[in-house]
Symmetry: C2
Subunit: 398 residues, 2 copies
């Protein structure tokens, strides 16, 4: 089957029947995304692996497992509703109940997400007022998606949304999403949220498999399970309107998740540069993933990227410390300007430094850097994304 993937405008509202909106007052924002569901609608979620799970994570995870569909998601920023005990759980339930009542949908079909300070109870009077305002302004226009994306921002510097259509010459599927990012420095403890909507009709189990596969190669390449925040979640809702080929849907979903994940990496706290690390020549896919994440996470590598210093020794050490199989005499490392302006340069060829320092420094002046590492032992590859480490990161987190 042949199909084309094309970007379209409108963010999450590019999907038929989806309405969204959001408001923000100081640090406290609230967004609602709602969509008309067909009988065959389904929903899937991927949740933080943190042992301390926020109340909204517990609630939404349980609801998706139980009823397998979501008619609406309500998300607030400013307060994570994490480490808040029974009162926190009651408040998360109340958020869902308020939205369900306003929208006239079953309470168990409302998902809840939160991001912000840990260990503080929600201000439910504020939440109630914001739910009233946002639910009255829900719109299927593009502005609704932007407003929702903006409402869930914390230290993000720009709202994150994307949408595509998957076209096979006759009919089209749509997938749209919004996301918020976080301090991208490992261990990643700020909150990553992403909500993705599609008009595709897919069985609950298929949907979950597709989401897991897409998250593994996108959000999990900037954030590792074991180090997620108390509140991380990625939710995928399929409204069930259109028949879908799983293969086409998976490719489209991969594209949407990768796009949102890269936006989060690009907007890491204090970031001045975007970094893509591509590892190839690995003995296994797991090794390639591990090595790529190790390089993109290393504070020493990140610091030298900030300083525009072509320090290949730090890259070698990060890969070595990752514990993956490698051949020291066959490692190759190259730097590339993703935008193409400053070209590319080899730092190491088959284990020997080949640094043209002047050229390497020029390539590192780019704001979009790709590091390519060949481990020299196999045929597997993987890509991870991140950003540089600037003094601003520390200032943001004092």
């Amino acid at each position: 089957m042949k199909f084309r993937i094309e970007r379209v405008e409108g963010g999450i509202c590019a999907v038929g029947g989806v309405r969204a909106y959001g408001v923000k007052e100081g640090k406290n924002g609230l967004a609602i995304v709602a969509g008309d569901l067909e009988e065959n609608a389904s929903a899937a979620g991927v949740f933080t692996a943190n042992k301390v799970k926020a109340a909204p994570v517990k609630l939404t995870q349980a609801r998706i497992e139980k009823c397998g569909r979501l008619a609406a998601i309500v998300a607030n920023s400013g307060c994570a509703n994490a480490f808040t005990g029974k009162e926190g759980l009651k408040n998360a339930e109340l958020m869902a109940e308020l939205v369900a009542r306003r929208l006239g949908i079953p309470e168990e079909e409302v998902g809840v997400a939160s991001t912000g300070v840990i260990g503080k109870q929600l201000d439910m009077r504020l939440i109630e007022r914001q739910i009233k305002e946002v639910s009255e302004k829900l719109t299927s226009n593009a502005e609704g998606s932007v407003a929702a994306a903006r409402a869930i921002m914390t230290t993000d510097t720009f709202p994150k949304e994307t949408a595509i259509r998957i076209y096979d010459g006759e009919s089209e599927l749509r997938i749209g999403g919004i996301a918020k990012g976080a301090g991208m420095i490992f261990p990643h403890l700020a909150t990553m949220l992403a909500f993705v909507w599609t008009d595709a009709r897919l069985h609950k189990r298929e949907l979950k498999d597709c989401l897991k596969s897409a998250v593994d190669r996108s959000f999990n390449m900037i954030v590792v399970d074991g180090d997620m925040s108390t509140n991380d979640m990625v939710l995928l809702v399929a409204t069930g309107v259109k028949e879908a080929s799983v293969e086409a849907f998976q490719q489209g979903l991969n594209y949407v998740c990768e796009t949102l994940a890269k936006m989060i990496a690009r907007d890491g706290e204090g970031a001045t540069k975007f970094v893509e690390v591509h590892v190839r020549g690995a003995a296994s896919y797991e090794d390639a993933r591990t090595a790529a994440r190790a390089v993109v996470r290393s504070p020493l590598v990140k610091s030298s990227i900030h300083g525009e210093s072509p320090n290949f020794g730090r890259i070698v050490a990060a890969v070595g410390a990752a514990g993956v199989e490698l051949d020291e005499s066959r490692i190759s490392i190259a730097l590339e300007d993703i935008s193409g302006v400053f070209g590319s340069v080899k730092l190491v060829s088959n284990g020997s430094p080949t640094v043209d320092v002047d050229h390497a420094r020029r390539v590192m002046q780019t704001r979009e850097l790709r590091i390519v590492v060949d481990l020299g032992v196999g045929a597997y590859e993987a890509t991870a994304w991140g950003c540089d480490l600037s003094p601003e990161y520390v200032r943001l987190n004092l």
Copy 2:
């Protein structure tokens, strides 16, 4: 058996028969430590787990395994001799050979260590000249230990040495050591070196067990195996002069290793505060270690310590992300000023925030902070050490 452990002056030269010295020219330093060995002398080492091992690591590891004793250690700073292929190995051998010839000892009884830039060959003319100078000035006076400790410094801001005597009322053992630190931010990719000498007589296998046990609770609580640099090593030489109780020796060695490890943590790159994290109430010793290291490593916790902000949410999230067993409703967290001046304050008691923010801020003004976390599920405990994260860290590593 009763014994007392007392600090003594002299660093590594506090041990009978040990001579040391070092020189430093700009970034390039060289130190030699040498000691008279009895017939029953032994040596043990713990080496980096990095898959890319520096030439001196390969050489010294092989020699200790083969002949089980070291008459001298030569260490240079400025060039790590890592990722340097066959030429690197040849140069490491040559360093040992030059020292052996100067001191009239067997070549295979010389250990080699290096720290500095990765991927660069040693300047052997410089090394040869420095070996000549240092070997002529070796001394058993305290100044020899300081000179050696100073010669192996890289980004360290002070030389690190310590010595003790273990006294049972009749005879005494001595243990002395020097160390150098590194960027203490995880993943730890700069080099940690420590050389410890004792006049005790212990079997090679006993010595190795003692060293492993001491390193696990000291250097490994600031540096984790899988994330060590290409050059990390801890060497322990027993000259074999005095009979020793293994129990007394182990306690003394723990003390020396912990003292040197804390010095390294205190001198982390850009550090302005020293942090001790004590985890108790854990379900296992492994859990306690994992949780303590997770907290001490978290960039968000470290940033908030730098900002003197009592952010218990970040501590909870770091512990949760570590994947250890815990009871959210029984977690307790306290802050203590190690020096005692600013007192101590509870942040969380049995799962509930109890923050007296003003008091907590006062406690955090200390330069020596202890974070105590009770996981509320068991009886195991462990301690880890680190420092705050300051913008200066990034500047040092540009």
